[in-house]
């Protein structure tokens, strides 16, 4: 065992790879590894939904309405997690729901990341009127409760999954913009940026090649944590009937459709809720671990 450890250490010393160093810190954090495992498993489930789901998510089995999970009295292994009020298999809907939640979450985070980084870079480099304009409008957006803002945006655009995603992008944007600007301001004053300028680097080169890579660590962490917020907000909007519309198998929508049966058939709300919980938990744990591994101040 100790030989193996020595071997890894010498490898890391020989290979000047920041990824190796990152992985050494990351794997010491069991929560983070667990979180990444959850994320990987759910991603696999989403990708392979067609193969592993036992039923079609929208197939209605009229002979099996509100069937309990397999291990309870009256359940069958045909519907492992039971069925909902119109006889759809809950397990299959959760599996397909992972696909919806993850892809929309990914879309939201990517859009918010790109636009937020662009705004933060512009604000951090311009200082002055443009900076004030961008950052104060971000402050206004932050001052509104996030879900309320999202509801207003969806109310204006009309309820649909894509509009809900756009609303969540708008809600998340200020976090990325602020974080990027703060990182840009610290990096911009450093000597290596001055050195680039003395070499003749133009503004775009300074922004994207010199400064931005050094600002990415906190932004990546925020991206991971933002993913879980996005999944949660989308589920909330779905629950309120403003997100995915039936019969799309989306977790929040599943919860809201089944709400009236919560007394009689607990499984119709419990399993979609657990699915949301595990995705959010997985991304949060992974995000925390990323922060610990990427932030030099937290390194031992």
């Amino acid at each position: 065992m100790s030989i193996a450890a020595d071997h890894i250490d010498t490898d890391a010393a020989a290979l000047p790879n920041p990824l190796v160093e990152f992985w050494r810190y990351f794997r010491q954090n069991y929560g983070a590894v667990l979180g990444s495992a959850i994320v990987v498993i759910i991603t696999l489930i989403a990708v392979l939904a067609d193969v592993i789901a036992p039923h079609s998510p929208n197939e209605q089995y009229r002979d099996a309405l509100l069937m309990p999970p397999a291990w309870l009295d009256g359940g069958t292994w045909r519907f492992v997690l039971g069925t909902d009020d119109i006889g759809r298999d809950i397990l299959s809907r959760i599996i397909y729901g992972a696909r919806v939640s993850l892809s929309i979450g990914f879309l939201v985070v990517t859009l918010a990341l790109v636009v937020g980084i662009a705004l933060g870079l512009v604000a951090g480099f311009s200082r002055g009127a443009l900076d004030i304009l961008v950052m104060r409008s971000m402050d206004v957006m932050l001052a509104l409760p996030s879900l309320l803002l999202a509801i207003v945006i969806v109310a204006i655009l009309g309820p649909s999954l894509i509009n809900a995603a756009l609303a969540v992008v708008v809600v998340q944007l200020p976090h990325f913009a602020r974080l990027t600007r703060a990182a840009v301001l610290t990096e911009r004053a450093k000597d290596y940026v001055v050195a680039s300028r003395v070499s003749g680097a133009g503004l775009l080169r300074l922004m994207f090649i010199t400064v931005l890579p050094n600002c990415m660590a906190p932004v990546i962490v925020q991206g991971t944590l933002g993913f879980s917020t996005a999944v949660l907000d989308l589920a909330a909007l779905g629950f309120l009937g403003l997100g995915a519309q039936p019969p799309t198998p989306e977790w929040g929508t599943m919860l809201s459709n089944a709400l009236q049966f919560i007394q009689r058939a607990w499984w119709v709300v419990t399993f979609p809720g657990l699915a949301i919980l595990s995705v959010v938990l997985g991304f949060n744990l992974m995000g925390d671990g990323l922060r610990d591994a990427l932030d030099p101040k937290l390194k031992r």
Binding site: P16, Y192, A195, S196, G200, A201, T210, P213
Partner: protein, 312 residues
Amino acid sequence: MNNTVLTCHQLCRYYPVRDSLFGRHKTIKAVDGVSFDLSAGRTLAVVGESGCGKSTLARLITMIEPPTTGRFSLGGADGVKSMRRQVQLVFQDAYGSLNPRKKVGSILEEPLVINTRMHRAERRDEAITMLTKVGLRPEHYSRYPHMFSGGQRQRIAVARALMLRPKIVVADEPVSALDISIQAQILNLLMALQDEFDLAYLFISHDLSVVERICDEVMVMYLGRAVEQGAKQIVFQRPAHPYTQALLTSTPFVDPGRRAQRVLLRGEPPSPMNVPHGCAFHQRCPIAEERCHRERPELRDVAGRLVACHLV
């Protein structure tokens, strides 16, 4: 041999500041009328206390900031782009001046990518040649800055400054963050490279023993103005300005024969926001008289060097 590569005429850099929200606008005169010439293969040392405007001067010459008034010309080059290629900068903090996310190779190649149309392979050859010239090995090409020691990092910074074959290198306290033994190595390297590339150095330092070793000419600055400038031998052996005398006797020597009676100065240098009327130095000057309160002394020739003092 009069091969002037840099001519500065009355360079000034003022910063507007406000001391409170509704306060009056004031001006910090960081550099206030500095003139000098620099020839190829020569080293001009700029010495002085913190806050005397040394680093601001470096920022002006390297075109990080424009001068408020005054002008400077670089032998033959016109246009910012070609002027930029002539002047490069070596920083005090070598680690901070190297991008931590880039490998040494791409740090060295960046000036070439921006300013030339060389191919990737040519750039790589240039970078490796320069690495060996500054005493590093070709395999250091693909390492990150954090894997080097302080002296090696400063060697990388020097190599980067030379990639465009500039005529002038501005060195802003290049060795003051290094160990004494490493300081000597870097100074030797700088001198060897000066001979090889016929470089002109503007060497900024507060360490007089370093300055004495490397420079040909000295300019002593006090609150943004030169108080004495001239050849090293004259300034070091027979300092004329009372401030230069105080500065020189503050250097510790091991050899008791070289120790002079220390000239101790009273007080602190005044704030550059509030430069005294007349000679900026008169409040601390041991020989100041009434005239120094009223009239600001201009630089004039005294026995082969320029001095700004009424009384020499």
